[in-house]
Amino acid sequence: MKNLTTLSLTLLISVLVFAQDKYLTKIGTINLEASVPSFEEVKATNEATTFILNTANGEFAALVFVKAFRFKNALMEEHFNENYAESDTYPKANFKGKLIDFDLNKLSDNQETLNYTGTLEFHGKIKTLEKLPITISKNDTDQIILTGTFEVSVDDFDIDIPKVVSNKLSKTVVVTFNFNLSKKQ
Protein backbone atom coordinates (compact mmCIF):
# COMPACT_ATOMS: atom_id res chain seq x y z
CA MET A 1 0.00 0.00 0.00
CA LYS A 2 2.81 2.33 0.96
CA ASN A 3 4.61 1.47 -2.24
CA LEU A 4 1.50 2.20 -4.22
CA THR A 5 1.17 5.59 -2.57
CA THR A 6 4.83 6.36 -3.25
CA LEU A 7 4.44 5.25 -6.85
CA SER A 8 1.33 7.31 -7.50
CA LEU A 9 2.91 10.29 -5.76
CA THR A 10 6.03 9.95 -7.90
CA LEU A 11 3.87 9.68 -11.01
CA LEU A 12 1.86 12.71 -9.96
CA ILE A 13 5.02 14.69 -9.34
CA SER A 14 6.55 13.64 -12.66
CA VAL A 15 3.35 14.66 -14.44
CA LEU A 16 3.44 17.98 -12.62
CA VAL A 17 7.07 18.58 -13.47
CA PHE A 18 7.23 17.40 -17.05
CA ALA A 19 3.91 18.54 -18.42
CA GLN A 20 3.92 21.76 -20.43
CA ASP A 21 2.56 25.15 -19.44
CA LYS A 22 4.20 25.55 -16.08
CA TYR A 23 4.73 28.77 -14.24
CA LEU A 24 6.82 28.55 -11.12
CA THR A 25 8.87 30.26 -8.45
CA LYS A 26 11.49 28.91 -6.09
CA ILE A 27 11.50 31.92 -3.80
CA GLY A 28 7.83 32.31 -2.96
CA THR A 29 7.04 34.25 0.19
CA ILE A 30 4.85 32.99 3.01
CA ASN A 31 4.21 34.93 6.21
CA LEU A 32 2.85 33.49 9.41
CA GLU A 33 1.50 35.65 12.15
CA ALA A 34 0.10 34.58 15.51
CA SER A 35 0.57 37.82 17.41
CA VAL A 36 -1.51 38.99 20.33
CA PRO A 37 -1.91 42.77 20.72
CA SER A 38 0.47 44.41 23.22
CA PHE A 39 2.76 41.37 23.37
CA GLU A 40 5.89 40.77 21.32
CA GLU A 41 4.95 40.00 17.73
CA VAL A 42 4.96 36.37 16.72
CA LYS A 43 5.69 36.56 13.05
CA ALA A 44 7.80 34.64 10.59
CA THR A 45 8.70 34.93 6.93
CA ASN A 46 9.64 32.17 4.56
CA GLU A 47 11.23 33.15 1.26
CA ALA A 48 12.16 29.73 -0.03
CA THR A 49 8.84 28.26 -1.08
CA THR A 50 8.56 26.42 -4.37
CA PHE A 51 5.25 27.04 -6.11
CA ILE A 52 4.20 25.55 -9.43
CA LEU A 53 1.06 26.46 -11.34
CA ASN A 54 -0.18 24.38 -14.21
CA THR A 55 -1.73 26.98 -16.49
CA ALA A 56 -3.48 24.32 -18.56
CA ASN A 57 -5.89 23.41 -15.76
CA GLY A 58 -5.22 25.74 -12.81
CA GLU A 59 -3.77 23.08 -10.55
CA PHE A 60 -1.02 24.18 -8.23
CA ALA A 61 1.44 22.67 -5.79
CA ALA A 62 3.58 24.40 -3.22
CA LEU A 63 6.40 23.01 -1.15
CA VAL A 64 7.24 24.92 2.01
CA PHE A 65 10.52 24.31 3.82
CA VAL A 66 9.63 24.69 7.48
CA LYS A 67 13.24 25.35 8.51
CA ALA A 68 13.20 28.40 6.27
CA PHE A 69 10.73 30.34 8.45
CA ARG A 70 12.73 33.22 9.90
CA PHE A 71 11.68 35.06 13.05
CA LYS A 72 13.09 38.34 14.28
CA ASN A 73 13.74 36.69 17.62
CA ALA A 74 16.16 33.75 17.39
CA LEU A 75 14.79 32.05 20.50
CA MET A 76 11.27 32.24 19.09
CA GLU A 77 12.56 30.63 15.91
CA GLU A 78 14.13 27.85 17.95
CA HIS A 79 10.91 27.24 19.88
CA PHE A 80 8.89 27.27 16.67
CA ASN A 81 11.14 24.61 15.18
CA GLU A 82 11.55 22.44 18.26
CA ASN A 83 8.24 22.64 20.10
CA TYR A 84 5.54 23.63 17.65
CA ALA A 85 6.40 22.80 14.05
CA GLU A 86 8.82 20.01 15.07
CA SER A 87 10.68 20.67 11.87
CA ASP A 88 13.22 17.89 12.40
CA THR A 89 10.39 15.38 12.08
CA TYR A 90 8.27 17.38 9.62
CA PRO A 91 10.70 19.44 7.54
CA LYS A 92 8.21 20.15 4.78
CA ALA A 93 4.71 21.47 4.43
CA ASN A 94 2.65 20.89 1.30
CA PHE A 95 -0.02 23.10 -0.11
CA LYS A 96 -1.81 21.94 -3.22
CA GLY A 97 -5.05 22.49 -4.96
CA LYS A 98 -6.82 24.02 -7.88
CA LEU A 99 -7.79 27.52 -8.94
CA ILE A 100 -11.46 27.41 -9.92
CA ASP A 101 -12.32 28.82 -13.39
CA PHE A 102 -8.71 29.61 -14.12
CA ASP A 103 -8.02 30.81 -17.66
CA LEU A 104 -4.53 31.95 -18.61
CA ASN A 105 -5.84 34.01 -21.53
CA LYS A 106 -8.09 36.07 -19.31
CA LEU A 107 -5.29 37.22 -17.03
CA SER A 108 -4.20 40.84 -17.28
CA ASP A 109 -2.52 43.64 -15.37
CA ASN A 110 -5.72 44.13 -13.43
CA GLN A 111 -5.97 42.12 -10.27
CA GLU A 112 -8.71 39.59 -10.41
CA THR A 113 -10.05 37.45 -7.59
CA LEU A 114 -10.48 33.73 -8.08
CA ASN A 115 -11.38 30.99 -5.66
CA TYR A 116 -9.35 27.92 -4.93
CA THR A 117 -9.82 24.66 -3.12
CA GLY A 118 -6.90 22.79 -1.72
CA THR A 119 -5.21 20.94 1.08
CA LEU A 120 -2.54 22.05 3.46
CA GLU A 121 -0.29 19.51 5.09
CA PHE A 122 1.71 20.74 8.05
CA HIS A 123 3.06 18.99 11.14
CA GLY A 124 1.89 15.70 9.64
CA LYS A 125 -1.77 16.77 9.59
CA ILE A 126 -3.90 17.62 6.58
CA LYS A 127 -6.44 20.42 6.47
CA THR A 128 -8.81 21.11 3.60
CA LEU A 129 -9.21 24.67 2.44
CA GLU A 130 -12.51 25.21 0.63
CA LYS A 131 -13.25 28.03 -1.78
CA LEU A 132 -10.84 30.64 -0.53
CA PRO A 133 -10.14 33.83 -2.46
CA ILE A 134 -6.85 34.47 -4.23
CA THR A 135 -5.74 37.53 -6.16
CA ILE A 136 -4.19 36.93 -9.53
CA SER A 137 -2.70 39.14 -12.22
CA LYS A 138 -0.17 38.92 -15.01
CA ASN A 139 2.32 41.67 -15.72
CA ASP A 140 3.95 42.67 -19.00
CA THR A 141 7.06 40.58 -18.29
CA ASP A 142 4.89 37.46 -18.40
CA GLN A 143 4.95 36.94 -14.64
CA ILE A 144 1.86 35.65 -12.89
CA ILE A 145 1.41 37.20 -9.46
CA LEU A 146 -0.63 35.35 -6.88
CA THR A 147 -1.42 36.74 -3.46
CA GLY A 148 -3.78 35.64 -0.76
CA THR A 149 -4.36 35.13 2.90
CA PHE A 150 -6.17 32.60 5.05
CA GLU A 151 -6.47 31.67 8.68
CA VAL A 152 -5.80 28.35 10.30
CA SER A 153 -6.08 27.19 13.87
CA VAL A 154 -3.16 25.50 15.62
CA ASP A 155 -5.66 22.82 16.76
CA ASP A 156 -6.15 21.75 13.14
CA PHE A 157 -2.52 20.72 13.05
CA ASP A 158 -2.33 19.11 16.44
CA ILE A 159 -0.01 21.73 17.87
CA ASP A 160 -0.15 22.25 21.62
CA ILE A 161 0.53 25.65 23.07
CA PRO A 162 1.74 25.46 26.69
CA LYS A 163 -0.35 27.38 29.25
CA VAL A 164 2.59 29.62 30.16
CA VAL A 165 2.64 31.27 26.75
CA SER A 166 -1.00 30.82 25.74
CA ASN A 167 -1.87 34.48 26.38
CA LYS A 168 1.02 35.72 24.23
CA LEU A 169 0.31 33.48 21.28
CA SER A 170 -2.80 33.49 19.16
CA LYS A 171 -4.35 30.11 18.39
CA THR A 172 -5.38 31.51 15.05
CA VAL A 173 -2.50 31.84 12.64
CA VAL A 174 -2.81 34.24 9.73
CA VAL A 175 -1.05 32.94 6.66
CA THR A 176 -0.22 35.39 3.86
CA PHE A 177 1.42 34.37 0.63
CA ASN A 178 2.89 36.07 -2.39
CA PHE A 179 4.18 34.18 -5.42
CA ASN A 180 5.71 35.77 -8.53
CA LEU A 181 5.68 33.00 -11.08
CA SER A 182 7.77 32.91 -14.22
CA LYS A 183 7.24 30.58 -17.13
CA LYS A 184 9.26 27.41 -16.87
CA GLN A 185 12.08 27.45 -19.41
Binding site: I13, L16, K26, I27, A48, T50, I52, L75, P91
Partner: protein, 125 residues
Amino acid sequence: MKNKIYLILSLLIIGGVLLYNYIYQDHRDISQETATYEITATNLVKDFVKDISYTQNKYLNKTIEVTGTITANGNNSITLNNAVYCTFSNSTKATLNTTITIKGRFIGYDDLLEEVKLDQCTIKN
Protein backbone atom coordinates in the same frame (compact mmCIF):
# COMPACT_ATOMS: atom_id res chain seq x y z
CA MET B 1 23.11 44.62 56.02
CA LYS B 2 24.35 46.99 53.35
CA ASN B 3 26.56 44.25 51.92
CA LYS B 4 23.59 41.94 51.67
CA ILE B 5 21.63 44.50 49.68
CA TYR B 6 24.56 44.97 47.29
CA LEU B 7 24.88 41.22 46.91
CA ILE B 8 21.19 40.76 46.10
CA LEU B 9 21.23 43.73 43.77
CA SER B 10 24.24 42.47 41.82
CA LEU B 11 22.75 38.97 41.61
CA LEU B 12 19.56 40.49 40.22
CA ILE B 13 21.50 42.46 37.63
CA ILE B 14 23.55 39.43 36.57
CA GLY B 15 20.39 37.33 36.40
CA GLY B 16 18.67 40.02 34.37
CA VAL B 17 21.53 40.27 31.90
CA LEU B 18 21.68 36.48 31.50
CA LEU B 19 17.91 36.30 30.98
CA TYR B 20 18.00 39.14 28.47
CA ASN B 21 20.82 37.47 26.54
CA TYR B 22 18.91 34.20 26.53
CA ILE B 23 15.67 35.73 25.26
CA TYR B 24 17.32 38.03 22.75
CA GLN B 25 20.12 35.70 21.66
CA ASP B 26 21.64 36.15 18.21
CA HIS B 27 20.61 34.21 15.15
CA ARG B 28 22.97 31.61 13.76
CA ASP B 29 25.52 33.18 11.47
CA ILE B 30 25.92 30.56 8.77
CA SER B 31 28.76 32.45 7.08
CA GLN B 32 30.86 32.21 10.27
CA GLU B 33 30.08 28.57 11.03
CA THR B 34 32.42 25.73 10.12
CA ALA B 35 30.78 23.41 7.64
CA THR B 36 29.69 20.05 9.03
CA TYR B 37 30.00 18.45 5.60
CA GLU B 38 31.97 19.31 2.48
CA ILE B 39 30.68 17.64 -0.64
CA THR B 40 30.53 18.04 -4.40
CA ALA B 41 27.17 18.80 -5.99
CA THR B 42 27.43 15.57 -8.00
CA ASN B 43 27.86 13.43 -4.88
CA LEU B 44 25.14 15.28 -3.01
CA VAL B 45 22.67 14.50 -5.78
CA LYS B 46 23.85 10.87 -5.85
CA ASP B 47 23.09 10.63 -2.12
CA PHE B 48 19.56 11.80 -2.77
CA VAL B 49 19.01 9.40 -5.64
CA LYS B 50 19.99 6.59 -3.25
CA ASP B 51 17.80 7.52 -0.27
CA ILE B 52 15.87 10.77 0.00
CA SER B 53 14.69 10.67 3.61
CA TYR B 54 17.95 9.39 5.07
CA THR B 55 20.01 11.99 3.23
CA GLN B 56 17.58 14.75 4.07
CA ASN B 57 17.77 13.98 7.79
CA LYS B 58 21.54 13.75 7.60
CA TYR B 59 21.93 17.27 6.22
CA LEU B 60 18.82 19.04 7.56
CA ASN B 61 19.63 22.42 9.12
CA LYS B 62 23.37 21.72 8.87
CA THR B 63 25.89 24.11 7.40
CA ILE B 64 27.43 22.48 4.36
CA GLU B 65 29.90 23.39 1.64
CA VAL B 66 28.99 22.34 -1.86
CA THR B 67 31.34 22.51 -4.83
CA GLY B 68 29.93 22.47 -8.33
CA THR B 69 29.47 24.20 -11.65
CA ILE B 70 27.20 27.21 -11.92
CA THR B 71 24.36 26.32 -14.29
CA ALA B 72 22.03 29.24 -13.56
CA ASN B 73 22.10 32.44 -11.58
CA GLY B 74 19.58 35.01 -10.53
CA ASN B 75 19.65 38.14 -8.43
CA ASN B 76 19.98 36.32 -5.13
CA SER B 77 20.50 32.78 -6.24
CA ILE B 78 22.92 30.37 -7.85
CA THR B 79 22.15 26.90 -9.15
CA LEU B 80 24.92 24.30 -9.13
CA ASN B 81 24.84 21.34 -11.55
CA ASN B 82 21.13 22.00 -12.29
CA ALA B 83 20.33 20.42 -8.95
CA VAL B 84 21.50 22.51 -6.00
CA TYR B 85 19.62 25.77 -5.56
CA CYS B 86 21.38 28.26 -3.27
CA THR B 87 19.83 31.52 -2.09
CA PHE B 88 21.86 34.43 -0.79
CA SER B 89 20.85 37.10 1.68
CA ASN B 90 22.61 39.73 -0.44
CA SER B 91 22.65 40.03 -4.18
CA THR B 92 25.48 38.15 -5.74
CA LYS B 93 27.35 37.98 -9.03
CA ALA B 94 28.80 34.83 -10.50
CA THR B 95 29.86 33.68 -13.93
CA LEU B 96 28.03 30.80 -15.55
CA ASN B 97 29.90 27.52 -16.10
CA THR B 98 32.59 28.29 -13.56
CA THR B 99 33.35 26.01 -10.63
CA ILE B 100 32.54 27.41 -7.24
CA THR B 101 32.25 26.41 -3.58
CA ILE B 102 29.22 27.66 -1.73
CA LYS B 103 28.62 27.49 2.00
CA GLY B 104 25.01 27.51 3.17
CA ARG B 105 22.36 25.95 5.35
CA PHE B 106 20.57 22.90 4.00
CA ILE B 107 16.80 23.39 4.30
CA GLY B 108 15.46 20.44 2.37
CA TYR B 109 15.02 18.44 -0.79
CA ASP B 110 12.53 19.86 -3.23
CA ASP B 111 10.75 16.81 -4.66
CA LEU B 112 8.65 18.91 -7.03
CA LEU B 113 11.70 20.15 -8.90
CA GLU B 114 14.15 17.46 -7.76
CA GLU B 115 16.52 20.03 -6.32
CA VAL B 116 18.43 20.49 -3.11
CA LYS B 117 17.80 23.81 -1.42
CA LEU B 118 20.27 25.87 0.63
CA ASP B 119 19.67 29.27 2.19
CA GLN B 120 21.85 32.00 3.77
CA CYS B 121 24.61 31.11 1.35
CA THR B 122 28.01 32.73 0.93
CA ILE B 123 30.62 32.14 -1.74
CA LYS B 124 33.69 30.38 -0.37
CA ASN B 125 36.40 30.94 -2.96
